[in-house]
């Protein structure tokens, strides 16, 4: 039996804007990219065609694999680094900070930078890490360095540090959310049964917080994977990432077909990662919840 007309109309009214939005601004653009990826570059611009040359070029020219692997590596380091910093912080907030006001303040301290422009936050690291930057001045003032070092800026490490700083709120928020939901009674029960703090953490808290880690990992990983600002601002001559290559195909090379094919390859990688992490998350829930 179907719902009365008025209810169905209301449902449609609520659902149609997001559906329309998704269709117009997600589905159609991706469909256009898909079509473009079979086109062919022909001076001075590009022409409709149906051929797999762009995908073939991505597979055969080693530069694309090199940049993809580099991007994966950097995204992995950023996610790992964020998790290693964010987890202890969130744990501290949830289990060690007693006063709710103080806890909120510390939580906001991580989230608030999101309100500041990404560019500004990334640019700040140039000022910190540069040859005449704050870090060098500090190390020289305490006598660690006798002259400014250039190793801090314009390399992949600087990119990883900057990206961790920029994306870490996306790791803290989901981990904080899952840790907060863990009933304190479970931890008390564990301790009542004579299990030590460290084993309680390994056997109870950590497994229950896996969905949060996975969610944070997925977000920081995909955000880093698509980043093209950090390489320009703080990356060195070996900083090129896949999003920069795509941007240059749409711009400098005026090869939208190749750019579209690259974008779709990138989309496939990101979707694969999201699917895998989704499995992990469900596995975690099924096993431990």
């Amino acid at each position: 039996m179907s719902a009365p007309l008025s209810v169905r109309l209301k449902r449609a009214a609520v659902l149609s804007p997001p559906l329309l939005w998704t269709f117009v601004f997600m589905f159609i653009p991706y469909a256009i990219l898909f079509v473009y990826s079979f086109w062919v570059q022909k001076y001075p611009t590009f022409q409709p065609a149906f051929q797999f040359g762009n995908y073939l070029q991505i597979a055969t020219d080693p530069q694309y694999l090199r940049v993809l692997l580099r991007t994966l590596k950097i995204a992995l380091f950023v996610s790992l680094g964020s998790a290693l910093i964010a987890y202890p912080y969130a744990y501290f907030l949830v289990f060690k900070v007693r006063r709710p006001g103080f806890r909120l303040a510390l939580y906001m301290a991580v989230v608030a930078p999101l309100w500041v422009s990404y560019l500004l936050r990334a640019y700040t690291w140039k000022i910190i890490l540069g040859t005449t930057g704050i870090l060098n001045s500090f190390l020289m003032s305490i006598g660690v360095l006798s002259e400014p070092s250039s190793v801090f800026l314009y390399n992949q490490t600087a990119m990883i540090i900057t990206l961790i700083y920029v994306f870490i709120p996306f790791m803290v928020m989901p981990i904080y959310a899952v840790l907060e939901k863990i009933p304190k009674s479970l931890i008390e029960a564990s301790s009542d049964l004579g299990v030590g703090r460290f084993r309680t953490f390994l056997m109870v808290t950590l497994p229950l917080s896996i969905p949060g880690i996975v969610a944070g990992f997925t977000m920081t990983f995909t955000l880093t994977f698509g980043d093209f600002i950090a390489p320009i601002l703080v990356g060195g001559p070996d900083g090129l990432m896949i999003a920069n290559v795509i941007a240059s195909q749409f711009g400098a090379a005026l090869n939208w077909p190749l750019g579209s094919a690259l974008a779709l390859v990138m989309l496939m990688i990101v979707l694969t990662i999201i699917t895998i992490s989704d499995r992990f998350e469900r596995l975690g829930q099924g096993k431990f919840a």
């Binding site: 020219d61 530069q63 540069g130 040859t131 800026l153 060195g236 240059s248 090379a253 005026l254």
Partner: protein, 350 residues
């Protein structure tokens, strides 16, 4: 209104109402150009004199023109690409023929520019030369005991981590000249591969490839970089303002030259204003503006005499046709452009 445009508009009605409304307002010019080419000191008197309102959008590189015009939408009326990009815009049909009888100073402009291949097709003219200069190299005076004279200085192991290059296909032009390949705009695949090898060899010396004018100024100012190629006259002046002493030089291997032209976008509804703007740009007012703001050389030597001192006139090589002829004036790479771009990306992927 063309049929195509109308159909496009039916789809996204609200956006198009705004577009059509603004398009029908007479005397509004949207120019896609370089920072410094639409300075208020030039634009405001022009607006006051003609009643044409000017809005400028800035590009970061010549590679920005075609994608912005290819995206369509009839947004821009005038573009100011360099001589390596002009011809592909003509071939793509993005710009329209210019009636030179409506450009009063046409006869005063350098013949090398008004007859350049890049701005004409089938005997028709598509661009009005506006400004020109070289891509010399510049170095921090306090860091070099003996002034560098060759591109090879950028490969000197003593300059580890102190070199920068423009993040652009022109890096290949530099490396090719070091290899002795002077045909930098028609390099063969082997010559490009050899240039790539040279650039990868240079990697330990590179601190950062610069992508905007301001970035290179920052790199010199914050003591990251001591030597690089540069947009002649522009960044060195900005650094001089900051108290950083740099010296520009043309290496033994020669320097690239560039020339920017104003072009009218195909089908502009503001043609009258566009021609007024083009005339202003090559007049003493317009040329004086680009000289004062950017320090670039003038394409109109007759007008330049009005606002340059004799010393400035010769410092900017306005009286020296040999200098102009010695520059490797940028050329359109046509169907070789993607080869160059991918080769440069490949260097950066290492």
């Amino acid at each position: 209104m063309t049929k195509k445009r109308f159909l496009g508009c039916a789809g996204i009605a609200s956006i198009c109402v705004a577009t059509l409304a603004s398009a029908s307002t007479a005397g509004e010019l949207n120019i896609l150009t370089w920072e410094g080419y639409a300075d208020p000191s030039v634009i405001e008197p022009f607006e006051a004199a003609t009643g044409c309102k000017v809005s400028a959008t800035y590009v970061g590189s010549n590679d920005d023109f075609a994608p912005k015009l290819a995206a369509g939408g009839g947004v821009f009326d005038i573009v100011t690409p360099s001589i390596d990009t002009t011809f592909s815009l003509i071939e793509a049909g993005f710009v329209q023929e210019i009636d030179i009888s409506r450009i009063s100073a046409w006869g005063d402009l350098y013949k090398q520019f008004t007859t350049a291949d890049g701005i004409q097709k089938d005997g028709k003219i598509y661009g009005v030369p506006y400004a020109w200069g070289a891509i010399p190299f510049m170095y921090r005076k306090d860091k070099f005991d003996t002034p560098p004279t060759s591109i090879a200085a950028l490969w000197d192991p003593a300059l580890k981590g102190r070199v920068s290059l423009w993040d652009d296909k022109s890096a290949l032009y530099v490396a090719a000249r070091l290899n002795g390949d002077m045909n930098i705009y028609s390099l063969s695949d082997e010559q490009i591969a050899a240039a790539q090898v040279k650039l990868i060899e240079q990697r330990p010396n590179i601190r950062k490839y610069w992508s905007t004018a301001g970035e290179l100024v920052d790199l010199f100012k914050s003591d990251e970089v001591w030597i690089s190629n540069t947009w002649g006259g522009y960044q060195s002046a900005l650094l001089a303002d900051e108290g950083v002493e740099v010296v520009e030089f043309i290496p033994e291997e020669g320097a690239e030259g560039w020339m920017d032209s104003n072009m009218i976008v195909t089908g502009t509804p503001n043609e009258e204003c566009a021609y007024q703007f083009l005339n202003m740009a090559v007049s003493a007012e317009g040329q004086g503006g680009v000289f004062r703001v950017n320090g670039y050389s003038s394409t109109n030597p007759v007008a330049a005499k009005e606002f340059m001192t004799p010393e400035e006139f010769s410092a900017l090589h306005q009286d020296d046709p040999d200098y102009l002829n010695s520059l490797l004036l940028w050329e359109n790479l046509a169907d070789r452009l993607p080869v160059y771009t991918n080769a440069w990306n490949s260097v950066k992927s290492q």
